[in-house]
């Protein structure tokens, strides 16, 4: 029976539309995943030496024990964002004569088989073998590594419960933030160092088996917590919740000023807010606002000669345009479930595309405004953001949509956004090149021959010209959609 279920799972993943239709994408992603895991493993191999460098004269194990909590914090974060819930398959299994307990157990265990679960093992196993075993012996190595792995897997089960319990609710996000801020922020601000507080526990792990036994018990408890929660809620109504119309769901009055396009922009906003995938895109974009903090505060990136680092253009493009690029690259795929609606209305396509333009530009404006506090680090950042913002909404947006219209693919908006490559094709990978290349193609020559600020002015001026020529430029993309409407609509109806 279990074998049959496993076989069904395998068939499902092989035959899913996103897999079969884009072998290329699958291969590329597989390669990337492998590369990433290799990096993690390499980092693990050199972890001992890195730690010696970081804290000279100290035992690497002591340093690691004091810092390992922050690894688990990071794991907590990425598990929250990346880990997928196994309930999606429940619907097709529940009605079969298989015990619920068996189904839940199978789904839970299957969820454990994922690259996320081997991260801790890959990172810390080499260290345990290189540093702990020779000095403290095999038992210490097993005790320590076992404790680490148990904590990592406890996080897995805990997260399954946590995400299902608080999924998509603001409360869940707030709680994750609170944990991170409390643990990371307190250390940063020097209130107390949580890492050092828990250090003795890991210290003990290399001396006795008590921590291992303890964390094993925690792991089992976490498993049963997830198990019993899923079992209790193994009804369609509980796990796949219907949402009620919420706040933010309303129309934006001012958008109606733009006529039919404004109306469509309102629709698009509702689409974004009411689907899981698009909502995650929006939330992530807000995170990316903080991207500048990495670069702008870093002394390595401070200017030497009155100009600024070339990479800031990239950062500016990202901060002011991340939502535009992230959301816009799947341009029509967002409407794959209702494309016929627009086809069937007079000037429906034109209105749809204008509306999408409007929402992309609108959100980009909001992000620009939100990014203004960076002026705290220097006026130059305001100029960089302003210029890249103008360039984004004047030029890049048309380029991006042009590329996005190359074989749009249907996608299900109610699935999560993380590692969900539905709707993604070769175009989405290739378009990064012109999107990031275009601003540099303008900026670099000007900055080379004159100076960086002339380069910025060039971006701003070209962007403004693009804005003035908006109707003309957008007409190109509207025409393209119009010409390809049959192909697009039949691919959205999955008739290929």
């Amino acid at each position: 029976m279990i074998f049959e279920l496993v076989r069904l799972q395998f068939l499902k993943s092989v035959r899913s539309t996103s897999f079969a239709k884009s072998i290329l994408v699958t291969l590329l992603l597989g390669f990337l995943a492998l590369l990433l895991l290799t990096y993690v493993f390499m980092a693990g191999l050199f972890l001992g030496r890195i730690l010696e460098e970081v804290a000279e004269g100290q035992d690497p194990l002591v340093t690691l024990n004091a810092g390992i909590l922050f690894f688990f914090l990071a794991e907590f974060m990425y598990r929250y964002f990346l880990q997928q819930l196994p309930v999606i398959e429940l619907e097709s299994l529940l009605h079969l004569p298989i015990g619920k307990k068996k189904i839940i157990n199978m789904l839970l265990i299957r969820s454990f088989i994922s690259p996320l679960s081997v991260m801790a093992i890959l990172l810390f196993t080499p260290f345990a073998f290189q540093n702990i075993m020779p000095e403290l012996g095999t038992a210490a190595m097993i005790g320590w590594l076992g404790t680490v792995v148990m904590i990592s897997s406890s996080l897995h089960w805990f997260m399954l419960w946590f995400k299902q319990r608080f999924e998509d609710s603001l409360l869940g996000v707030v709680m994750v933030f609170a944990v991170v801020v409390l643990a990371g922020g307190s250390t940063y601000l020097g209130w107390f160092n949580l890492g050092e507080v828990v250090q003795p526990f890991f210290e003990l792990a290399s001396q006795s088996f008590i921590p291992l036994i303890l964390t094993f018990i925690i792991c089992v408890v976490a498993y049963f917590m997830a198990y019993s929660y899923y079992l209790k809620n193994a009804y369609l109504e509980d796990l796949v919740k219907e949402e009620q119309a919420k706040f933010l769901n309303q129309n934006f009055g001012f958008l109606s000023r733009f006529g039919l396009a404004g109306e469509m922009a309102n629709l698009e906003w509702k689409l974004i807010i009411r689907h899981k995938k698009s909502r995650t895109f929006l939330m992530l974009s807000v995170f990316f606002l903080l991207y500048g903090l990495i670069f702008y505060t870093n002394p390595d990136y401070q200017s030497e000669d009155g100009g600024f680092r070339k990479i800031f253009i990239f950062v500016g493009v990202f901060i002011t345009g991340i939502f535009m690029m992230n959301y816009g690259q799947l341009f029509l795929s967002w409407n794959s479930a209702n494309f016929d609606f627009f086809l069937n209305k007079k000037n429906g396509l034109q209105a749809l595309i204008r509306g999408k333009y409007l929402i992309l530009i609108g959100v980009s404006c909001i992000f620009f405004l939100l990014s203004t506090p960076y002026v705290y680090f220097g006026w130059v950042f305001l100029f960089v953001h302003g210029a890249t913002w103008l360039f984004n909404i004047g030029i890049t947006i048309h380029l991006m949509i042009y590329f996005a219209l190359w074989k749009p693919k249907p996608m299900d908006l109610n699935k999560g956004a993380m590692f969900n490559y539905e709707g993604v094709g070769a175009a989405q990978f290739l378009m990064v090149i012109p999107l990031l290349g275009a601003p540099y193609a303008v900026f670099l020559p000007l900055s080379y021959f004159f100076n960086d600020y002339i380069g910025l002015a060039g971006l701003a001026i070209l962007g403004s010209i693009g804005l003035m020529a908006f109707t003309k430029l957008s007409a190109i993309n509207i025409r393209r959609v119009h010409l390809k409407r049959y192909e697009i609509s039949s691919s959205f109806r999955q008739e290929l």
Binding site: A245, K270, R274, H275, A337, N338, K346, A351
Partner: protein, 231 residues
């Protein structure tokens, strides 16, 4: 009103639709029947310019549907859920349509009042997205949406499917009423022979993409269809 001329649809070698000549006059209630895969939905989709014809033309009031868009104003359609904006509540959806068709609030209210009986208090004023409605209720929303804006032609694909018996009867009344009062031309495909023979003035039988029978005599319709489908 509608003319189909030498229409052909081919996927590689397979010809799925081959209609030489079909004229549908104004305010006719036109029924389309045929077994699964006969090409009913494909024909509707081509007539609505959702699918490209391999060759031939469809004219609505003399306009080639693939060449202009003016006919869309006069045409309403509900073929499947792809024509709904399922992430809206029914109220929001109707309001959106009202704006698209430049209807005033009162116009829209008057329009929806016609569907009061059919909706049975389960559609309007509910805080439920269309995607969470039952299939029957979704169909009702789609049919009401197809009739927004006083269209002259309305395409309905399997309108009776998924509806409960009383809704089916109410829908029949509604279609007949619209046809008599507003001279709306209906194109309806259905597997329910009782219903189509009752409301349609003319029924075309499709088999493997070809029109094999064009029935206009209301009294003989049922018997002929019965004979065909029982084989």
């Amino acid at each position: 009103m509608i003319q189909v001329i030498d229409l052909k649809k081919q996927y590689k070698e397979a010809v799925v639709l081959d209609v030489n000549q079909l004229d549908i006059p104004t305010s006719e209630c036109f029924g389309l029947v045929g077994n699964n895969g006969a090409g009913k939905t494909t024909l509707f989709r081509i007539m609505l310019d959702l699918v490209r014809a391999t060759s031939g033309h469809v004219l609505i009031e003399g306009e080639d549907v693939s060449k202009s868009e003016n006919w869309k104003r006069k045409t309403g359609a509900y073929l499947d859920e792809h024509m709904l904006l399922a992430y809206l509540t029914p109220d929001e959806y109707f309001q959106t349509l009202g704006k698209l068709y430049n209807l005033s609030e009162q116009d829209l209210e008057m329009h929806l009042a016609k569907f009061k009986e059919l909706f049975n208090d389960e559609i309007c004023g509910k805080k439920k997205y269309i995607r969470d409605l039952s299939k029957g209720n979704m169909k009702k929303v789609g049919i009401a949406a197809a009739l927004v804006g006083n269209p002259e032609v309305v395409f309905l694909d399997e309108p009776f499917e998924n509806l409960d018996p009383s809704s089916q009867i109410r829908l029949k009344k509604l279609i007949l009423h619209e046809k008599d009062d507003s001279k709306v031309t209906f194109l309806i495909s259905s597997h329910d022979l009782n219903h189509v023979t009752e409301i349609c003035d003319r029924i075309v039988l499709l088999e493997k993409g070809k029109i094999i029978n064009d029935l206009r005599d209301k009294s003989a319709m049922m018997a002929e269809l019965d004979a065909y489908f029982t084989g």
